[in-house]
Symmetry: C2
Subunit: 222 residues, 2 copies
């Protein structure tokens, strides 16, 4: 009698697609970064500014994940970067299979870097590998400085932490946020995490993030 | 041969516990509200201020849901309100079974109102009924005004929308947020949703929310 191990097959389906994505990205020498945060941390604004500022240096494409609507994809499209929209229709994270389909609809030969903008959710997306080279977690200062302690998984797994909306910390601002606490808590979970303080709105602090991206893309093409 | 419909049983387990919770709450005439939002929208600050301001009028208890840590439960405990902590250990929402256990550890005979503070997540908790009388969705102005369109499920299902951190909209503030767009989008999904503009930090707008709570508790005790 033949035994079919259905349980194992289901469990590893995402991992198999993630492996396909790794191979596909390597074949085209494209760096892929999976951007994860709560709703409203500023992922799309970071992406549009980054694409516009780096358009002469890096060719960027975007896989745009949303529960509903194509509001974010429209914002990306305005930068002229190629973008593929995935609507999860209620699901709380992107799967590697969805990303595989999206990658195949991007002009990969013309790209150096693909951002996956995951569904706005600080919990679930951290558990699903998509075949990316690294995760980028975004935390807005308006969300409070206790988030690495309260949602440790994504901070433990990310290559980069972008602390966004630092313009709200300027003199006279009404947001309480202890940057040093966040840095210390994130580094307790993840010694090698790179941390950049940015305002995607004002542009403050973005140049260090751009330098990191340029270096990472360069390394990936070697 | 006996047929065991395992699929159905698993699917309805949460609904069965939710029904138990409804009966338990009705027996004690306790109103139960399930508070849902992204991480960092201000749920705990809303609760601590509400408990302190209403302590002579309503006896409030809290079921505190978190992925990790008891940071929020400690903040509630400082108000002297009874609180039971649930750590989901990575899971992205509370289940009715977890809430059932927590309710049994609260002094229900001494309470008029129990808030469930769900895990910070705008997607998953909206799909799990806990036996509550109503859901309260919180949206901070720092998260942006496109959230009802992008995450419709929780706005469609909630009794109340609290638009929090309106102090960040004051003159000279750097947050762009079209209150009328949010109201219109939320009401398109949910005609009867009550909307309050508040700052749990400054206290602005909180009195209408308190009045709604007092009326709702009164109605529930009749």
């Amino acid at each position: 009698m033949q035994k079919v191990n259905v349980g194992k097959k289901i469990l590893s389906a995402n991992a198999e697609f993630a492996m396909n994505n790794i191979l596909l990205l390597a074949e085209h020498k494209v760096l892929c970064l999976n951007m994860i945060s709560s709703p409203g941390s500023g992922k799309t604004t970071i992406l549009t500014r980054t694409i516009n500022e780096l358009k002469d240096k890096i060719k960027i494409g975007v896989v745009e994940g949303d529960v509903q609507t194509d509001i974010d994809a429209e914002r990306i499209r305005a930068t002229k970067a190629p973008v593929v929209q995935i609507n999860t229709d209620g699901a709380c994270h992107l799967s590697a299979a969805q990303v595989n389909k999206a990658l195949k609809n991007l002009p990969m030969d013309d790209l150096n870097l693909i951002f996956i903008e995951n569904v706005g959710n600080l919990v679930c997306p951290s558990a699903f590998e998509l075949g990316e080279a690294g995760k980028i977690v975004v935390l807005s200062v308006a969300e409070g400085d206790d988030k690495p302690a309260k949602y440790p998984s994504i901070f433990a797994k990310s290559k980069v932490l972008l602390i966004n909306k630092i313009d709200l910390l300027s003199a006279g601002a009404q947001v309480d946020f202890d940057v040093e606490r966040v840095k210390a808590d994130a580094r307790k979970l993840n010694k090698s995490i790179e941390i950049f303080l940015i305002s995607a709105k004002s542009g403050e602090g973005m140049s260090d993030w751009y330098d990191w991206l340029i270096r990472s893309v360069e390394k990936n093409r070697q």
